[in-house]
Point group: C2
Chain length 349, copies 2
Amino acid sequence: MPDTTRRADRANGSRYGNRPTMKDVAARAGVGLKTVSRVVNGEPGVTPDTERRVREAIEALGFRRNDSARVLRKGRTASIGLVLEDLADPFYGPLSRAVEEVARAHGALLINGSSAEDPEREQELALALCARRVDGLVVIPAGDDHRYLEPEIRAGVATVFVDRPAGGIDADVVLSDNFGGARDGVAHLIAHGHRRIGFIGDMPRIHTAAERLRGYRAAMEDAGIPVAEGWMSLGATDPERVRRATEEMLAGPDPVTAVFTGNNRVTVTVIRVLAEYDRPVALVGFDDFELADLLQPGVTVVAQDAAALGRTAADRLFQRLDGAPGTPERLELPTRLITRGSGELPPAH
Amino acid sequence: MPDTTRRADRANGSRYGNRPTMKDVAARAGVGLKTVSRVVNGEPGVTPDTERRVREAIEALGFRRNDSARVLRKGRTASIGLVLEDLADPFYGPLSRAVEEVARAHGALLINGSSAEDPEREQELALALCARRVDGLVVIPAGDDHRYLEPEIRAGVATVFVDRPAGGIDADVVLSDNFGGARDGVAHLIAHGHRRIGFIGDMPRIHTAAERLRGYRAAMEDAGIPVAEGWMSLGATDPERVRRATEEMLAGPDPVTAVFTGNNRVTVTVIRVLAEYDRPVALVGFDDFELADLLQPGVTVVAQDAAALGRTAADRLFQRLDGAPGTPERLELPTRLITRGSGELPPAH
DNA sequence: CTGAAAGCGCTTACAG
DNA sequence: CTGAAAGCGCTTACAG
């Protein structure tokens, strides 16, 4: 007997198991389809007695409305997509959570995925979300060409970029003040007497990396310090490369006395390397991280507010979904310098 | 003219903007609906010439298949739901990412949300995902009664629990060896000469917290050490409570000489408190965390593999979706003691 | 207060 | 090789 059921399942394509539908409920309650719909959706105009019968049938059958079908008819899916770089990166945790909370407040679910910093995967994921007809999209770009989203946006998919701007299209974007934050962080090192300052950042094609490098250059120029080529290293943030870069800057006759790191992953690796040196090297890192205050010395950072980035982007998205007019905007959030010791070390000659 | 378009949008309920459908493509290409479907899905039996005409129409109209409609007809949504405690918690980042990778390998999207440790919110979220007809569900329970999922599971929603077992229902579950890990960690402290050892953990209603406390008790009992009431503190993991608990254990005539902490959030707070004391207090924490090796002393931990938890759970889920038979299983993953210094400090008398 | 018909955008099952 | 009809499970627009 269970076997027969199984085969029946397969025969109808195992369609959602064997779930009862509104039609089943209507039949059992002896009412029309529309009446069931009214009860399920809390619409008015049903006598208490009818409603009771419908509710009993729902209970008895274990009916749950198929939102997937509802969505098809209504035209809005009450879900938004989030494309980020890596769900496992601690920077994106609070950002995702903030987007989720805003979505929740608007009764929407969140579908998300990681691009793994691969532009092709970003596109694949973003378009899959569009095919699901998410109402809107929050994207942390991996690539720098987003023209593939143009038809989708034109077709009505609200889209907001966060952390990095879109490439090749005009769209709302929420950014941290990467340039200003880096400039302030480097100026802080200069104010503490450093002149030979290294910069270790992410790949230059990533917008945030380029902006932070620009901030570094600006601070140095403002102080009238010429920058040596060997003081700048941009590339992948894997520990091996960052370690090599750090060691090179600390070698030679005129080693750097301070390092500015371009993001949290770089910072962490540089801390490990510096721990192996006897001479103190000053450090300011972009991005705050847990326990930065408990290390010795505490790590001075330029902090950005990941949750605020996510919240601002999601708010903007729902404003657009609610029909907010106007051309795409660029929203820039300030950063904050947090001094904890490592950035206040004097230069070791 | 744009205004007219706008009004038209509203009139039809702003249905996915104004997206072209297969019907539009068919009309433009001068073929039947089914032929468009064949081309879009790469099914055989279309002459090259017909295919070309269809592709041109698709291109010209900017058509993208509505997977939401497809799903309704096919019965499987190619998406799975993940209910976790907090997207922003660093422990769940790698776990989510692992689930995502497995889903991706199976061509499924991931819909996820945070329960915020609130049983009601967990239920609301899990049922919303069921209403969307996700094919399966990975749940990190907040509550301890999951009977509300019984009708869903019976209706065919594959469900796997991770990190904590389900309550009131029989379901697949993937756990760390919380009992064994905690017992080993406490035994490690005992082996280093400690007898007065404190335990600070999460709320006792949370399964992992209870299991880890059980491990603590077992280790103490194995060593023949009677446990004083004041040595155990379970409750919310907010810094204020944990700080108070730590301070109380360190006060009085017979203070603890070592602390075992029940999870990463507790550990981090206890480290902050211990940093304020002159006398050294040994510490072993459940859960590894970034930079644990760079603190002074390095923090000895009982590490669990969050990514492996997620991967194992997702693998199990897709096995079930592929028809794997058998009764629900309990999979337990080992933990690993990582010594870094804090757990090897001798007792200060 | 209630319900039958049409339709959302696809796929399935079938016939030519 | 191609396509018309029916249907997935709901909601919409309308009529009684």
